[in-house]
């Protein structure tokens, strides 16, 4: 019998990894046992209550599909493979970077991830190599009571360029856990576009951390699309570690039913002369709940920082609730930082305008929300990526125009 409690027995059942990884796992398992479930008393977990969350799942390897848009990656020296496989074939890189951006002892859940993860995606782009078309991983889960530990480790060496789409999907499930980690190393002068599309079904609890480290004169652009899961807590952090770096973090989410979204972002300016821009847009209906909290942190010495943070929310139902909480923590004196946040219903003038053209209210709302999101997508220059995202949004919002009709 496999245990559902992430205990010694369950741990022993895991397929063995390479020696260094096995050590990391063991340590993570100890951390998992020592750490408490994060408490709402802490600032980080204020908006998500997991005190009653039963950690009784079966560790599970979801099916993963990688697509390369038909590009010859081997020829370029690009490694795009299963993370455990890379731990053998590219041991040096994996050992050097795995769990450095998101250490296993960060929370009980990262420790759990460190201990029970199998599989995941490893992507390495060598120096000055440019991958023309987007690479994509689809992680698909369809087992009730399963815990998946998706992990993406993306390393773009100096001057490398890549676009990567991380897609997560499942049918509606009675109960499942997605405990996900994304680590992205953007080398000096590298350009990375990272897109995540989270479409877990109902019943899934999604706890994800994405952390990127941006090198000197490097560019990191992320787009996070969040539609799924019953509860989704998604943290996205960018560390601007080298002078002249740039980070753009875009987010689009749509919540319905009783979905609970807890989005957190950090723009961490360590090096001088960096700029970062964040724009998150969300729409909520039914009795859903969303909290966005963001930090801009300018460390001492990070002079000439230019940082902006914007959160916009449309609340389509009186039972839905959204909050946006911006935070600036500035420890340098020569910086430009700003934030803007808004939460409000759909604009009635606009609804009337559309209705007066024969468009029923529900359809008008759908169109308005689509347009509201479009403004985020317009910032994505790569056509394939934008198109992908547009389709995902269209599909998600399609029901908005029918479900709303009494």
């Amino acid at each position: 019998m496999t245990s559902l409690w992430f205990d010694e027995a369950a741990f022993e059942l895991l397929p063995k990894a390479t020696e260094p990884l096995q050590r990391m796992r063991k340590q993570a398992f100890e951390e998992f046992r020592a750490l408490p479930i994060p408490s709402q008393e802490t600032e980080e977990w204020r908006y998500t209550d997991l005190s009653d969350f039963e950690l009784s799942f079966e560790a599970h390897l979801p099916s993963v599909m990688r697509t390369t848009s038909g590009q010859d990656l081997d020829g370029l020296g690009v490694v795009f493979s299963d993370l455990d496989r890379a731990a053998g074939s590219d041991a040096e890189l994996v050992e050097r970077y795995l769990h450095t951006l998101v250490p296993t002892d960060r929370t009980k859940f990262t420790a759990l991830h460190g201990a029970f993860r199998t599989g995941g995606t490893f992507l390495y782009i060598p120096r000055d190599v440019r991958v023309e078309l987007p690479l994509q991983t689809l992680t698909y889960l369809d087992a009730d009571g399963a815990a998946a530990f998706p992990h993406t480790l993306l390393i773009a060496d100096e001057g490398a360029e890549v676009t990567f789409i991380d897609r997560f999907a499942s049918p509606d499930l009675a109960r499942a856990l997605s405990d996900a980690i994304v680590e992205i190393v953007v080398g000096d002068g590298a350009h990375v576009r990272y897109v995540s599309i989270q479409e877990w079904g109902a019943g899934v609890t999604h706890l994800g951390i994405q952390r990127a480290r941006v090198g000197r004169d490097a560019e990191f652009r992320s787009l996070a699309i969040g539609f799924g899961a019953s509860l989704a807590r998604a943290e996205a952090e960018t560390v601007l570690a080298g002078a002249g770096g740039f980070s753009e973090m875009l987010g689009v989410f749509f919540a319905d039913g009783t979905q609970h979204f807890d989005h957190r972002s950090v723009q961490d300016h360590v090096a001088p002369n960096c700029s970062s821009d964040l724009l998150y847009k969300g729409a909520l209906r039914d009795a859903s709940r969303a909290v966005y909290s963001g930090w801009v942190h300018v460390r001492p010495g990070a002079q000439k920082t230019d940082a902006m943070q914007t959160s916009r929310n449309i609340v389509l139902s009186e039972h839905a609730k959204a909050d946006a909480i911006p935070n600036l923590e500035i420890e340098a004196n020569d910086v430009r930082c700003g934030h803007a946040a808004s939460v409000g219903p759909v604009d009635e003038e606009t609804v009337f305008y559309l209705e007066s053209r024969g468009i029923p209210r529900a359809e008008a709302e759908r169109l308005i929300v689509t347009g509201f999101f479009q403004e985020v997508l317009d910032r994505v220059r790569l056509d394939e990526v934008r198109h992908n995202a547009e389709l995902a949004i269209q599909e998600e919002l399609a029901e908005l125009s029918t479900a709303g009709v009494a």
Binding site: T350, Y353, G358, I359, P360, L367, T370, G371
Partner: protein, 271 residues
């Protein structure tokens, strides 16, 4: 049911209409009938209630009907949502068109077209249908790719309203100061377009401050509105009379005191 048999022209009938915003009565007993195939002009000083009348007819939220009725083809429409009014053939070109961020004109119009006609139309077929109207109005392809009214100049907004009118093919349209903010060339284009559209298939109520629009489109009926009432109606000569004597002349003639009219400042972008 409605009296909408194939032969009867579509008819908008406003009877004894009184309407308020909050506690303030703005429309104080309006009677007006406009039929498909007719052209009416409604003139009146700033703040007399012309836009309020159009808004109440189209069902804009925020107005309270105190008394009277608005029927379209015999059906009371005051309780219908605006989209249902549009679907029955009403159209309002707005004085201040609203921006719809992130939604392109073509996408917006196709959605509207499908909703009104109750049928799907391929993007290609719709583009063709729209193209004819665009050419007539001198509207470039680039404009319909842009987001609805976002960053449009005053004149572009008005031309976009007329494009919608042309594409959606209503039976009765209200043009609320569609001529304001247009330069001389645009005014000509818009007026000629409206003139072409205003045949037996369409009835129009043109709200305007100026004779210049009426130089292109000759209304069969002219109405003067003051203080929430239509105080005078007549033929096309009435518009000329107004141009000569101003509203002061009408006031004197009818013994109306000029009070309570809030001047909302100069008309936007008079060419």
């Amino acid at each position: 049911m409605t009296q909408n048999d194939a032969t009867a022209p579509a008819t908008l009938e406003v009877k004894g209409l009184r309407a308020a915003v909050g506690d303030r009565e703005i429309l104080r007993g309006i009677d007006l009938t406009v039929q498909q195939g007719q052209i009416h002009a409604l003139m009146g000083p700033n703040g007399s209630g012309k836009s309020t009348l159009s808004n109440v007819i189209m069902g804009r939220p925020g107005y309270r009907i105190l008394e009277g009725s608005v029927t379209f083809n015999g059906e009371d429409i005051t309780l219908l949502p605006p989209d249902q009014r549009a679907k029955r053939g009403l159209f309002l070109a707005m004085q201040y068109p609203t921006e719809v961020p992130g939604v392109s004109v073509v996408n917006f119009l196709r959605t509207a077209y499908q909703a009104i006609k109750g049928e799907q139309i391929s993007a290609l077929a719709f583009r063709k249908h729209m193209k004819t109207q665009m050419d007539r109005l001198g509207i470039e392809d680039a404009m319909v790719q842009r987001y609805v009214n976002q960053g449009f100049s005053g004149g572009e907004k008005k031309r976009n309203e007329v494009l919608q009118l042309a594409v959606l093919e209503p039976t009765l349209a209200i043009l609320d100061e569609t001529d304001s903010g247009l330069d001389i060339d645009s005014l000509k284009l818009v007026a000629e377009s409206v003139n072409e559209l205003a045949g037996p298939e369409l009835g129009v109520l043109i709200i305007t401050h100026y004779q210049r629009m009426l130089n292109y489109i000759t209304p069969g009926f002219v109405h003067v509105m003051m203080l929430g009432k239509i105080v005078k109606s007549g033929g096309p000569e009435l518009a000329h009379e107004l141009e000569d004597k101003g509203y002061e002349g009408v006031r004197r003639e009818l013994g109306i005191e000029a009070h309570e009219e809030v001047d909302e400042g100069p008309d936007e972008g008079v060419a």
